[in-house]
């Protein structure tokens, strides 16, 4: 009897599955794209560390059969910085949510981007705190309804790609979970990039966010992505808006800049050389 295996059979921790995600959630698509990118690039899974913070998408660390670590809320990027600097041979990816990376973890994000730490950061942006039941967060659009904005949101949201670009990231892209092929290609690009790369993935959360905002199913949300999406590669990230009418997607930044690790380990090598010559 032949048994058909899941294409990512060996890349998933079976003992952690079934996953915790709701029907219509886009997190599985993001996980799939990430695994596909690793597989396509033939990256040694023994040398990959998948780091996540707290929130629905944070569980991705447990499902991925690389070395993985599930940090405290907001600290994934800071933890990953320690890992990457201590062992530069490891490929260190951070996959986390908009609240984790940009509210409680916002400071770590901008500084890791500024330093250009060689990390690949993927943000699942669902516009809300899903795990705690749908409160507004740093990416919730103006006027949106959530459990803590019962009269509509009165806070301006972050434009994440503008923030990442301004903070110094060398690769910045934004896709939705409808754009799987482009998303996977972007993750592959990011994984091969030296330095801090950032990919924002707009992902449906029909159960929590959609329910409050007249998009009760995953299909409703995907339809919004389909109707509103406009690909504007290398346009000004400052103008890449997310509104009910228009979601601007694409690659926005792809530049070369020495990574923090390269500069740091280069400095150490110079110190070592100097000491060998004996002129301390």
């Amino acid at each position: 009897m032949s048994e058909e295996l899941h294409p990512f059979e060996t890349f998933l921790r079976k003992e952690m599955i079934p996953h915790i995600w709701c029907d219509g959630c886009g997190n599985g698509i993001i996980l799939n794209s990430y695994l596909m990118a690793l597989k396509d690039l033939n990256i040694d899974f023994n040398k990959v560390v998948t780091v996540a913070g707290i929130g629905c998408i944070g569980r991705v660390s447990g499902y991925t059969k690389t070395d993985s670590y599930h940090t405290t809320h907001g600290r994934a990027v800071a933890f990953a910085t320690g890992v990457k600097l201590a062992n530069p041979e490891l490929k260190v990816a951070v996959i986390s949510g908009d609240g984790d990376l940009f509210a409680i973890g916002g400071n770590h994000f901008i500084h890791a981007a500024r330093r250009n730490v060689n990390l690949q950061v993927i943000c699942a942006n669902n516009f809300t705190y899903g795990m705690t039941g749908g409160q507004y967060g740093p990416t919730t659009p103006l006027d949106a309804w959530t459990s803590t904005t019962p009269y509509g949101n009165v806070e301006h949201p972050f434009n994440l790609i503008h923030l990442a670009a301004a903070s110094g990231a060398v690769y910045v892209a934004r896709w939705t979970t409808l754009h799987v092929r482009r998303l996977t290609e972007s993750i592959k690009k990011a994984l091969q990039k030296e330095g801090f790369s950032f990919i924002e993935v707009i992902t449906p959360c029909p159960e929590i966010y959609g329910r409050y905002n007249k998009m009760r199913t995953g299909i409703d949300m995907m339809n919004w992505f389909r109707k509103a999406s406009e690909i504007r590669n290398y346009s000004d990230p400052a103008k890449a808006e997310i509104t009910p009418e228009r979601i601007v997607l694409g690659e926005f930044v792809d530049i070369e800049k020495p990574s923090f690790g390269r500069l740091l380990h280069g400095m150490t090598a110079k110190v070592q050389e100097k000491m060998k010559r004996g002129n301390r």
């Binding site: 070395d67 670590y69 940090t71 800071a78 890992v83 201590a86 400095m267």
Partner: protein, 385 residues
Amino acid sequence: MAEKSRAVLTGKHFMQGDIACAEGAIAAGCRFFAGYPITPATEVAERMARRLPEVKGVYVQMEDELASMAAVIGASYAGVKSMTATSGPGFSLMVENLGLAFMTETPCVLVNIMRGGPSTGQPTKPGQQDVMQAKWGSHGDYEIIALAPSSVQEIFDLTIEAFNLSETYRTPVVVLADEIVGHMRERVTIPEADEITVIDRKKPRVPPGEFASFKPDEDLVPPMACFGEGYRFHATGLTHDESGRPSTSSAEAQQKLVQRLCDKIRKNADKIVKTERTMLEDAEVAVVAYGITSRSALSAVQKAREAGIKAGLFRPITLWPFPDQQVSQVAKKVDAIVVLEMNYGQLVREVERAAKETPVIFLSKLGEEPHKPAEILQAMRRALQ
């Protein structure tokens, strides 16, 4: 060999406490430091920034203490001995991830050069006000190992000890020094590299397929795989089973994990705890003091002996786990105990608890300098009345 000699600065030095702390760390094998500048611990960071590149280590100045502690844990999981150093306000931020380090059984060292608090307090002045915070500062049940050096030599020695304990028990260890020990300069003897005991974490003895990263040996400590070694394991701050899989609703899992993590320290307390006893054999009054206050306590005890008072000094070197048995033994033999602290009453409650019926007098000191020997002598006379 050349590299080892660069790591261990064998010889006699006139050195500042903070610098001796950094040298102790490097001698113990520390090759990663993440921190954030703060008085009076900044000199530890400055020394590390200069010294770590010389031994192929990494110094990184993070954006805050939350990030520093997170990076320290990351580096340890990447297989490198790591540390940070801070003072009260930074320690308040670090206790968040101190809990994570405890929960994910991460060997690492956190140095707190204590200043006056609460809040910004007195940055350049000494304090012993974070003793309870070290034990209780992070949420949930946890056990901590905390060591209190009283001299520049001892901060060198105890920083090595802190690394060895953290590696032995796979747990974070705190060095609780005060501003005076951190900033004063004294003679330090750094031994030959091969005379320094350096302990490394236990490694897995089974192949990746059979390895469970949180399955303990008999000593309750699990061997530790690190990232990139092929074990492809998962670690989480959530309650987890022996394989690292989250178990967020099983009462049994919560009981089993938290109990083992605490028992790992509690049941090994007799191996961890270090104390120092001076002139206690025939003592009628015992002074209990740690860190810098133990130095003036010693002077007071000597003065008391000269004045015909049978006094002795008990110095906990390990503050946590608290040396219950040792304090009880002292309490049984003396008529009274005098406790000195540069706070408004913290470890004294532990002493009272262990001393049971024996009366305890507490001498608090807040601010610039530790207790004067004359004040301590007076308290001893009062205690014996």
